[in-house]
């Protein structure tokens, strides 16, 4: 993707009108449900420890010894609000991620993130589906587990398969064969299978909810009673990964372990280790209510509403002409 010198917008006026209408629809949806809109800082002291997410960093002349991070999601700050006020909240605003430019990626994008007090993962899945059907019209909904999905499309149990079994299963696909042969990390192989083999086969017109990801991909989700899987779900529509949600981990010590584990993986993958957000940990320690939360890519949802195939077409100015 090349930078351009064009001054003209990347989205049409018609799409910008649809963009404004979608903001309105979403705000109405949450107002009706008594969920409070918040706008937490995007510029903050801490970033994320996730292995595959990179914050953009900047400095402030007023605090010369401290680096600041543009948030990849408002998650940590929103959780501090949850711990402090115990109120269901949503945020509709910009976030930033380094290293992502493509048909479905712009480094600066709009995220809808919300947290519901005392919701189970299933309660929240139901609410996500209701919102999507409000926005996109009636669509068929399929809900399945990560395990069943792999069994259906690859005839393989992702929870028990060895790395060799995964390699043997994927190596027949010529498009990925070379990578499969040299890749020895199980989660990378699972993500490869999910993104390049399974996802493209999901029915484009339908809403597909995949839940109970392997514990190794739990991120900040609570583990299930079956501790091999986490209470994490993803929603796919039209071949697009649209939303990622959890029944939230509320235990500070467990959160600390996840941060440490992330940093170990970062080290192993040759990435820098990240300081962990001690304020989030203290907030969890003070007591975070049981809740579920989800982040949904607003621009991707607008792509589905407008039927365009490139995220640039739904942004006033994409990064290539920002």
């Amino acid at each position: 993707m090349q930078l351009t010198d064009n001054w003209q917008p990347s989205a049409s006026l018609d799409v910008l009108r649809q963009r404004a209408a979608l903001f309105q629809t979403i705000r109405n949806f949450f107002q009706q449900r008594n969920v409070l809109e918040v706008d937490t800082p995007i510029l903050g002291r801490f970033g994320v420890t996730d292995l595959h997410l990179e914050n953009l960093e900047t400095t402030l002349s007023f605090f010369p010894n401290q680096r600041f991070q543009l948030q990849t999601s408002p998650e940590y700050a929103m959780k501090r609000l949850l711990a402090a006020y115990g109120q269901s909240i949503y945020q509709l605003g910009k976030v930033f991620r380094d290293d992502e430019v493509g048909r479905f990626h712009n480094p600066e994008f709009t995220m809808l993130e919300w947290y519901r007090i005392n919701f189970t993962m299933q309660d929240l899945i139901n609410e996500v589906v209701t919102l999507l059907r409000d926005v996109l019209g009636a669509r068929e909904v399929h809900q399945t587990t990560y395990q069943r999905l792999f069994q259906k499309y690859l005839n393989l149990d992702p929870l028990t398969a060895s790395i060799a079994e995964l390699q043997n299963c994927l190596v027949n696909d010529e498009r990925i064969a070379d990578l499969v042969k040299r890749e020895t990390d199980k989660d990378t192989l699972l993500q490869l299978a999910m993104s390049l083999v399974i996802e493209p086969q999901l029915k484009k017109s339908d809403i597909t909810v995949v839940e109970r990801f392997p514990a190794s991909q739990a991120a900040l989700a609570e583990l299930d009673d079956d501790e091999r899987v986490a209470l994490r779900f993803e929603v796919y529509v039209g071949g697009i990964e649209l939303a990622n949600g959890y029944q939230e981990l509320t235990h500070a010590a467990h959160q600390q372990l996840r941060f440490n584990h992330d940093n170990q993986l970062r080290k192993q993958f040759g990435k820098n280790m990240k300081p962990t957000d001690f304020r989030l940990l203290e907030a969890l320690d003070a007591g975070m209510p049981n809740c579920s939360g989800v982040a949904l890519g607003f621009d991707r949802l607008l792509m589905l509403v407008t039927g365009v195939s490139d995220i640039r077409q739904v942004l006033p100015f994409s990064i290539t002409c920002a």
Partner: protein
């Protein structure tokens, strides 16, 4: 040759794959929100001509291929090699049958062709988009027949066979689009 990171992938970049220089046709990033990003790349293998899809982990490095295109004038064929010359330096290069391939039927002396060199050796020859060649054999058509209703085959001086309108006769020079192999027009001598 330098290595390229997947971040540098773009259409036209030349990389080595399966021991063969390849041209990237397009490159798409596939990134799960919480997972490893992948580059899905379509490449054309420059020797076999095959188009294949490959996948890389974003951030991986791939060996670059020393591939350059040069504009050279076609000189002659000695039976084994096709000889070309740089009109500025007068340096000559010889391409073998494998490199010339089907282009042999469009090579006209003094025409400027594009030679693709890998490590300095020609691996492909692309003729100009339009060439002018004499018809050496075609059935006499009916006089007065104008619009080409399907036309008739004509053999050109290089051996190429193209369909020409019925009114075009042996001995005439025609202009042909080498990309489609189609007749364009008659050329007034």
């Amino acid at each position: 040759m330098a290595n390229y990171s997947t971040n540098e992938f773009k259409a036209g970049l030349k990389i080595m794959q399966d021991g063969e220089p390849c041209n990237i046709i397009d490159n798409e990033v596939v990134k799960p929100g919480k997972g490893q990003a992948f580059n899905r790349v379509r490449i054309r293998k420059l020797i076999s001509g095959k188009v294949v899809e490959k996948t890389f982990k974003s951030g991986e490095s791939v060996e670059g291929a020393d591939v350059v295109d040069m504009e050279l004038a076609y000189l002659y064929n000695d039976g084994e090699f096709w000889h070309f010359m740089n009109n500025e330096t007068f340096e000559q290069l010889a391409a073998d049958a494998k490199a010339v391939g089907d282009s042999t039927k469009w090579l006209v002396e003094q025409d400027t062709c594009t030679l693709t060199l890998w490590n300095g050796n020609p691996i492909a020859v692309t003729p100009p988009n339009f060439v002018e060649l004499e018809i050496v054999e075609t059935d006499p058509g009916l006089k007065g027949d104008t619009a080409g209703t399907g036309g008739k085959p004509a053999t050109l001086s290089t051996g190429a066979v193209v369909r020409v309108p019925l009114f075009v006769q042996t001995g005439e020079v025609v202009k042909v689009d080498t990309r489609s192999g189609e007749y364009v027009s008659r050329v007034q001598k």
